[in-house]
């Protein structure tokens, strides 16, 4: 059946594409990015075809393939998707072409080539598809670890000034988690061997009845790896560094997809394989989740670096996702999976917009920007959409998922749910403060050299922005007064924190300030569209996700299905 080859093709096509791109001569950047775009679009088409072929009411795993890979270990190259994995593949399919387009005009640091960047990007895509599509635990582990290598090189070769530190920290955190998981993976095999035939196949492992003591150990092994990946507080410290130092395209995939492997892992492996241990540890996980929601939101408010800020907002969002997963109801679980997709879109968009702003100003500091909206209304508009989507305003995609998580969790975990709702308010604060500081107010900062900024303010007052200047002069003046010394202080700081490869070489001064170019519009358009469409019509995705989540929840002996399941 040709359907079953879809997933294989989704792994093989980008992997081959990566090899071809890597083999191009160094100066053929244009060919490299065209090829990368082409390949990633092919993967998107394949993902859509897979969705069409997928029957939500059919078997749990569909489009399956399985060929023996390492018979000595009982390992199969087995791929297949349930609804959860499928929507993640769709997310990968959408985000990678967007990232390729977003990195279109980036210039590589000296002595490096963007060709290499695109090759790593495609290899990363192959690994990301593999990690979601694997139905063999060993194969999952292989992709899980292999995924680190391309990301490591993307951060380390093409990132910001502290890229070496960030790349190594990212790699080591993930590797330690991965190795602990490896012990659990082997343990799982040994358990299956004791119960009959040694296997890594997910479906067979799911049917094992594992001793609760062993379950606890194995659960912890998997949990540590996923909690680092997701990341949950207190294992999150690598993400702000990696997110801030990664090139924008890398950061989008890091936060948008790679981290989802953690929460995906909770749902796919922790819950169904170790139901009793999951129930036992759920309170602990929920504490970490809610702590993450609140703590990361507070930290986000305190950040001066925009990319770090966005990274912290994601940590807060991952708290919500973990809450949804470990609330053990189908609604909350469905909400969590939907949140994974929506977060990828919303935060991806936010990272992209922030990246565009940084490309113009050459600084990552919030304090170096102000009044951008007056000169770049479209950029500001998209920024606002991204921000509102990430604070889950009704009408945007994230609202649906956050709402589902909260109403789904409330019946089983009222206290945690109530605490988490505080996070919504904090989210509104950090997003709106960021927006206000950078987009509104008098034009100032690196994009508006002093003399020019005064002119611009006058222009603004004379033009359409009159209400802003006229109705709130005291606020505006106060803002300006406090911001001036802060801006000066940041300016000195900004010089050291400036990216190695800043904006395209436009002549300095205010002429660096320009609105979205046609390419940038093309980059953000699909994501903006998704934010709005999924905000009002999330039904198709929920339709895909819900049966898979319901099956998972019945594995763990919870959810709307009343049966006690595996006990």
């Amino acid at each position: 059946m040709s359907d079953s080859l879809l997933l294989v093709a989704m792994v093989v096509v980008p992997a081959v594409g990566a090899a071809v791109v890597a083999g191009l001569p160094k100066h053929r950047t244009a060919t490299a990015r065209q090829l990368a775009l082409g390949v990633s679009l092919v993967v998107l088409v394949l993902a859509v075809l897979a969705t069409v072929a997928f029957d939500p009411d059919g078997d749990r795993f569909q489009l399956t393939t399985s060929v023996p890979w390492i018979p000595g270990f009982g390992v199969d190259f087995a791929l297949g998707v349930d609804g959860i994995a499928l929507v993640m593949l769709l997310l990968v399919g959408v985000l990678v072409p967007v990232v390729v387009l977003a990195s279109w005009e980036d210039t590589a640091p000296p002595n490096r080539s963007m060709r290499t960047f695109f090759a790593w990007l495609l290899l990363l895509e192959a690994c990301m598809v593999g990690v979601f599509a694997a139905t063999d635990v060993f194969l999952f582990y292989v992709f899980f670890e292999a995924m680190l290598v391309p990301m490591y090189f993307i951060v380390g070769s093409f990132g910001g000034p502290r890229r070496q530190y960030a790349a190594v920290k990212f790699f080591l955190y993930s590797l330690v988690g991965g190795l602990v998981m490896l012990a659990a993976v082997i343990g799982l095999y040994v358990v299956s061997e004791a119960a009959g035939e040694g296997t890594f196949a997910f479906e067979s492992l799911r049917q094992l009845d594992i001793d609760p003591g062993v379950q606890r150990l194995l659960f912890l092994g998997f949990f540590v790896a996923f909690a680092i990946k997701a990341p949950l507080v207190p294992l999150h410290t690598w993400l702000p560094d990696a997110g801030a130092e990664a090139p924008v395209g890398g950061a989008v995939l890091l936060v948008g997809v790679l981290d989802k492997v953690g929460t995906f892992g909770f749902l796919r492996y922790c819950l169904p394989l170790f139901p009793e241990a999951s129930r036992e540890f759920a309170p602990l996980v929920l504490v970490l989740a809610v702590a993450g929601v609140l703590y990361a939101a507070l930290l986000a408010m305190g950040q001066t670096d925009m990319k770090r800020l966005v990274s912290y907002t994601s940590i807060a969002h991952f708290g919500f996702i973990a809450l949804g997963v470990f609330a053990f109801t189908t609604e909350a679980g469905t909400g969590a999976v939907l949140y994974m997709v929506n977060h990828g879109i919303a935060t991806g968009l936010l990272f992209l917009v922030v990246g565009m702003l940084i490309a113009r100003g050459g600084s990552r500091l919030v304090g170096d920007y102000g009044g951008v909206a007056s000169r770049a209304p479209k950029l500001a508009g998209v920024f606002l959409v991204a921000g509102l989507a990430s604070l889950a305003l009704p009408g945007t995609n994230s609202f649906v998922s956050e709402f589902l998580v909260l109403i789904g969790s409330f019946p089983t975990r009222p206290v945690f749910t109530v605490l988490a709702t505080v996070g919504i308010i904090l989210a509104a604060l950090y997003v709106l403060l960021l927006y206000q500081r950078t987009m509104h107010g008098p034009p100032r900062g690196v994009l508006f050299p002093a003399g020019d900024a005064a002119d611009d303010a006058a222009d603004g007052a004379a033009g359409g922005a009159a209400p802003h200047g006229a109705t709130a002069p005291p606020a505006g003046a106060g803002h300006g007064a406090t911001a001036a010394p802060a801006g000066g202080g940041h300016g000195a700081h900004g010089a050291t924190a400036t990216l190695t490869a800043p904006a395209p070489a436009r002549s300095g001064g205010a002429s660096r300030m320009y609105d979205l170019t046609r390419r940038e519009t093309l980059v953000v358009a699909p994501l903006v569209a998704l934010v709005l469409v999924l905000g009002v019509y999330p039904q198709p995705l929920i339709r895909l996700i819900e049966p898979a989540v319901a099956a998972t929840m019945s594995d763990v002996g919870a959810g709307s299905a009343p049966s006690e399941g595996t006990d």
């Binding site: 000595g72 270990f73 292989v142 670890e145 190594v168 590797l175 330690v176 190795l179 012990a183 082997i186």
Partner: protein, 515 residues
């Protein structure tokens, strides 16, 4: 009393005869061959010997017999290890034969007897004459190693230990550059090695005293009968210490960094790959065949030593600034990982045990990878010889992307990243340990892997993410021999990681000890 000639199965002995025969021919060539043609002839003889040994072991696959009056056990595990040693030995010979990299056309000193730094020595430094004694010496060492892993008798094991060690002591002192360092390494290796041999010999005597035999099977029977425990345990401990020394397992590893650093890099590669295989072969045979029923005595010892070795190797590896020393500590850590697999061994002859095949596979994987890594080290050179200081490798990827890529592959394999041979090997030994209930040991091993990954990674960071120094090293263009070595080891590292099924199956079938 007439001495009976032992029964000899020449077929089963063929690999040994081939290699040792080639070594003897090499000595004759050295004595009688004309100097001009000596180098190619010696390389040819050494290659024919090692490759011949490889082919004959492969032809013998499936043989299981005890021959030479019970002194040799030609069995699956022995043949697998012999083939591994012969193959790695042939690759090492190719590294020795490289003539394009050093401006004086060889990594070996012209005349080792000339005092370092003397007028004559300076004169010889630029002479393009090459030293060819290293080939028969290395071939003898390979022969000794192949004998070591099939020895079914403690005395034969001791003889093999000496046959493999003596040439190694010599050739580690033959570096052309930094001769004093090299000679110091040789003396150190010799002195400590002599101690280790003495330990082994004393242990042998005690075991003989306790059991009345040096034959492994006889020892096993005596052990099973439960005779005189103190002597036996002491003897076992001393034997194991002697072997752990050769395998550079901490706390018997102190020679490793110095010798690895001082010896000519091709010799280091040879030692790191082949000696490790041979020493572990002997450890496996001793523990499983002679003391398999006495598992309770050696298991805690091996358990403890494995932890020490992994931790020492990983932690001290972090502090190294010289690549050869770093790889030496890496070798100590890997010896610990191998012992994890040794622990994961149920009683002798149990076909379900996955410890033995795991260790066999790991040895092959580690041997090829580490040989490749040292081969890369020979390429990167500054003024006087190889540039092994870490800082000199900064930005190497910009100078020579291919070299950096190949080195990264080897380093990732040593770190145990999936889709490389190192991962498959680690997975196999850890699985064996966990299956055997030794999961705390496996956890320590995993943490040690994580620590060790840091120093492998540091090299990659340096090569790729740092700016090259202004007066950095040059990357030599390797000749055919080194190119072959790099291609073969890199391919093996990938193949054993991506499609290891066939070799794992082979190791599984080979995991049989007779005797």
């Amino acid at each position: 009393m007439p001495i009976e000639a032992p029964d000899l199965s020449f077929a089963a002995l063929a690999p040994l005869l081939f290699v040792l025969g080639a070594a003897c021919v090499g000595v004759l060539v050295e004595a009688f061959g004309p100097r001009e043609s000596r180098h190619p002839v010696q390389v040819g003889v050494a290659l024919v010997g090692t490759l011949g040994g490889l082919v004959t072991t492969l032809l013998l696959a499936g043989t299981q017999e005890v021959t030479a009056g019970g002194a040799l056990a030609v069995d699956g595990a022995g043949l697998f290890l012999q083939a591994t040693i012969a193959a790695l030995g042939a690759l090492s010979v190719l590294l020795f034969a490289e003539r394009n990299l050093d401006p004086a056309r060889s990594a070996f000193v012209v005349s080792a007897a000339v005092p370092a730094g003397s007028a004559r020595d300076r004169e010889l430094l630029t002479v393009q004459r090459v030293q060819t004694e290293v080939y028969p010496l290395a071939t003898f060492a390979v022969g000794g190693m192949m004998l070591f892993v099939t020895a079914n008798d403690l005395l034969v094991m001791f003889v093999a230990l000496e046959v493999l060690s003596l040439p190694l002591y010599l050739i580690s002192g033959l570096a052309r550059r930094r001769r004093l360092l090299s000679q110091e390494a040789a003396v150190k290796y010799f002195l400590l090695g002599a101690f280790a041999s003495a330990f082994f010999l004393y242990g042998l005597a005690l075991v003989y005293g306790a059991t009345g035999s040096v034959r492994l099977s006889a020892v096993r029977d005596a052990v099973g009968a439960g005779q005189s425990d103190t002597l036996l345990v002491l003897g076992l401990a001393l034997l194991v210490v002697g072997l752990l020394f050769k395998a550079s397992v901490a706390p018997f590893h102190t020679w490793t960094p110095d010798v690895y650093q001082g010896a000519p890099t091709p010799v280091t590669a040879f030692m790191a790959a082949c000696t490790k295989v041979a020493a572990f072969g002997a450890i496996l045979r001793l523990l499983y065949v002679a003391f398999g029923t006495e598992e309770w005595t050696w298991r805690p010892l091996v358990y403890g030593v494995a932890i020490v070795s992994m931790v020492v190797g990983a932690v001290l590896g972090l502090t190294q600034t010289d690549l050869k020393r770093m790889l030496a500590y890496s070798s100590v850590a890997h010896a610990g990982f191998l012992l994890v697999g040794v622990v994961g061994f149920p009683a002798t002859g149990d076909p379900a045990g996955s410890g033995l095949p795991a260790v066999l596979f790991y040895l092959l994987a580690y041997g090829t990878t580490t040989l490749g890594a040292f081969a890369v080290l020979t390429l990167v050179r500054s003024g006087d010889g190889e540039a092994t200081h870490l800082s000199q490798w900064a930005g190497l990827a910009q100078r020579s992307p291919l070299t950096a890529a190949v080195m990264s592959l080897f380093l990732l394999a040593l770190a145990g990243i999936p889709l490389t041979s190192g991962f498959t090997g680690k997975f196999a030994v850890f699985r064996a340990a966990i299956e055997d209930g030794a999961w705390p040991l496996a956890l320590v091993a995993l943490l040690a892997s994580a620590i060790a990954a840091f120093f492998y990674l540091r090299v990659i960071v340096l090569m790729y993410f740092s700016e090259p120094a202004a007066d950095g090293p040059t990357v030599g263009v390797p000749g055919m021999p080194t190119t072959i070595v790099l291609a073969v080891t890199a391919a093996a590292t990938l193949v054993l990681g991506v499609v290891p099924g066939a070799v794992l199956g082979l190791a599984d079938r080979a995991a049989i000890f007779v005797g």
